[in-house]
Subunit: 429 residues, 2 copies
């Protein structure tokens, strides 16, 4: 019957879906803060040029872009990194380097919706600017691992696939391939596992390379390659190197990466990458027209593939369920058993909330059993009943079914001390 629908590729977050979203964003935020990252946010709209020139073809072909009423060409952000480079370079004197910054918010890509892809998605971005050391790359990988563990995933559930674009640049130089072919070559490698071998071979031949040579080089690239030495030492010290797998086919689609690149994949379900990132040392100079040269690295994790992975992983589900239950409920439901006592009942609602107690009640007159039903639906631990006995009121523990009569004026203190006791009864069963 409804005459309006969501726009294609966009999502409604009803309370359950919204609590799930909050669980994801809260978990990201807590992990990033624990690792010393500071939160920032960029506008969801930027000049189209910011993406057109910087992000590369794949992303700009998927832009939600339009003209505003003053004929400005603007776009819904497809990613946050160009905005971060704009912001950090504009005010780089105001902040001590290195910057460890993170961001959480929506991004938009005009691509065909399918499993794991929506036109709007929520992304977590973590970046380190002003530190060119491999230690910064390691810190980002450590944060990515930290996040996965915080979601209740086990080390065996995921793998960081690691590579370095410099390895391929060196390979191209060794093979005598001109620099101008590097972007096209990286696109071929990016798709090498999904594209048909004949097509890949043909595209490689066009720039003077043989598929077999590329494949052999990929197979021969392992953790002994000097590009990985510093990262291996750092991540081994943290006990995280066994989460990493060298994989030369990882190059990342975006044009701006320069060194280390990595993606996080689940191990059991063959899903798309959960997260990806790397080093992009030239983007700040590019965005600031050479004004500020600042090394940088970062990664992004979206909510969509992650959500699918969490739904398929029992150890992750347990945490999620605890969070959802806590988000939905109230502590106390005030029952107006006698409408003549609505005024003191409202005063109690007000006082309980002021004291920090999550409290609900029926706004309109309602049968008593319906009010108790509502209390149960909202997982209330206590009901406070205002009836004919007023100024005495009944405090019922809805878990243990114990009840006691207290003076109405003592409701807040008795509820607070009751809430401080550990849960007993059926809820623990």
């Amino acid at each position: 019957m409804a005459s309006f629908r969501t726009v294609k590729g966009f999502r409604d977050f009803f309370p359950r879906e919204c609590a799930l979203r909050n669980y994801v964003t809260d978990t990201w935020r807590a992990a990033a803060r624990r690792c010393g990252f500071l939160e920032y946010e960029a506008p969801v709209i930027e000049s189209t040029d910011l993406y057109r020139k910087k992000s590369g073809d794949e992303i700009t072909s998927q832009l939600f872009c339009f003209e505003d009423k003053a004929q400005r060409e603007i776009a819904l952000r497809p990613e946050v990194t160009p905005s971060l480079a704009r912001m950090a370079t504009a005010r780089q004197r105001d902040f001590k380097k290195p910057l460890k910054w993170f961001q959480i918010g929506s991004c938009f890509r005009y691509e065909e919706p399918q499993e794991g892809r929506t036109r709007e998605f929520i992304q977590f971005n973590a970046d380190i600017l002003g530190d060119a050391s491999p230690g910064a790359d390691a810190e980002l990988i450590a944060l990515a691992v930290e996040v996965m563990l915080d979601f209740g995933l086990q080390r065996e559930d995921f793998r960081i696939r690691l590579s370095n674009r410099e390895i391929w640049n060196q390979f191209l130089r060794d093979q005598g391939v001109a620099d101008e072919h590097a972007p096209a070559f990286l696109q071929i490698v990016d798709k090498i596992e999904r594209a048909k071998p004949e097509e890949t071979a043909a595209r490689l031949t066009a720039i003077g390379l043989q598929l077999e040579v590329v494949r052999d080089f990929m197979a021969g690239t392992d953790e002994s390659h000097p590009a990985f030495t510093d990262l291996r030492v750092d991540l081994t010290a943290r006990g995280l190197w066994d989460c990493v797998k060298i994989d030369a086919s990882i190059v990342r689609g975006l044009a701006y990466y320069t060194g280390t690149v990595f993606e996080v994949f689940d191990v059991r379900h063959g899903l798309r990458a959960v997260a990806g990132g790397g080093r992009y040392d030239r983007l700040c100079a590019l965005i600031s027209d050479g004004g500020v040269d600042m090394p940088a690295a970062g990664f992004a994790m979206g909510d969509v593939v992650l959500g699918i992975l969490l739904s398929k992983t029992p150890s992750a589900q347990a945490r999620l369920t605890d969070y959802l239950n806590a988000a939905q409920g109230v502590d106390v439901y005030v029952v107006v058993a006698d409408e003549a006592q609505r005024a003191p009942a409202l005063a109690a609602v007000q006082a309980l909330r002021r004291a920090g107690v999550k409290t609900d009640y029926s706004m309109a007159p309602q049968k008593v059993n319906k009010q108790f039903q509502a209390a149960e639906n909202q997982n209330a631990r206590f009901a406070v009943v205002f009836g004919a006995e007023y100024p005495q009121v009944m405090v019922k523990n809805l878990v243990s079914r114990e009840q006691s009569e207290v003076a109405a004026e003592a409701v807040v203190t008795s509820v607070q001390s009751a809430l401080a006791e550990p849960l007993r009864g059926p809820l623990l069963a």
Copy 2:
């Protein structure tokens, strides 16, 4: 030097501004949950028609709207209420009534930026659907007050200006003005305090009314009007009626309001309304083409005027400062005084974070005094120093300047117990 800027009317949130935003959104969220509201979120993009037909002229003239690549007419949401009505009516069978729902997110209006107005702003929406009682209107006003108090504002700092559109509808009937003039009339009343009297008089004359009669009626409308009786009883029981001032000039610009309307104003600084809302009993039927008839009421509070008010109110500033300090800092800074000990230092960083301790360190080799400086900049309470004494390490309390040597393997437990102690020393000064 930077070649890119924010699009006109959009905002960058650097870490300090982002922490301020989080303070506002966290405070909204906590108050709404305490009052038994559940969070939802709607898409930031909807069909333009959803607004064109439902919100009225003032908002649709300020739409950020465009065509996507499939020629769909879509718009950045200028408000969330039409989306809420779309969502609630589409799935109304799935939820027990009344729905008490809240939402926090960005909205967009293409209007000239000025103090208190940006083209993108963050809004808090709280709504009750499926309850036509005045008790639901009172609950919304109580939540608005709760939010203001949670921000550290005093009761004397703000006022709820309350009216009811039915009062004006009755007035128009009494004056023999045709129903079709009601929308134009309400627009005139909405601007009566800001527009020139001559212009207002002329516009009223056009629909057969005299300015003096309207003014007299406004002046004569007070809390004795029967439209306010139930609300007065409810809010008096909660001890909140003294926060309310009857003001018949409050009608709200949006077309869809039907009964109670209110706005929240600061008392001292003459700012624009901090929040506003009311009852909109016909919107759900309109949005669902008559499919679902559901009474509804709600209010919205934006972050921009609120932010100005908080910045001008000392009692509000104190809470804000506490929040900002807590958001910026870490608990522990791990100092690598001897690069030979970087590996165990990294292991300690990892273990501390896993144990929930906010921990930072220098990713690249760095002079020891620079590392202590960084620890101070990040408000670290403790430094853990890995030097030549390893496997002994030094735990320094950066507040009291006390220090003690512990075994590296005991770092996590000794830091955790030290953090559990109350703060002493200069930070409390």
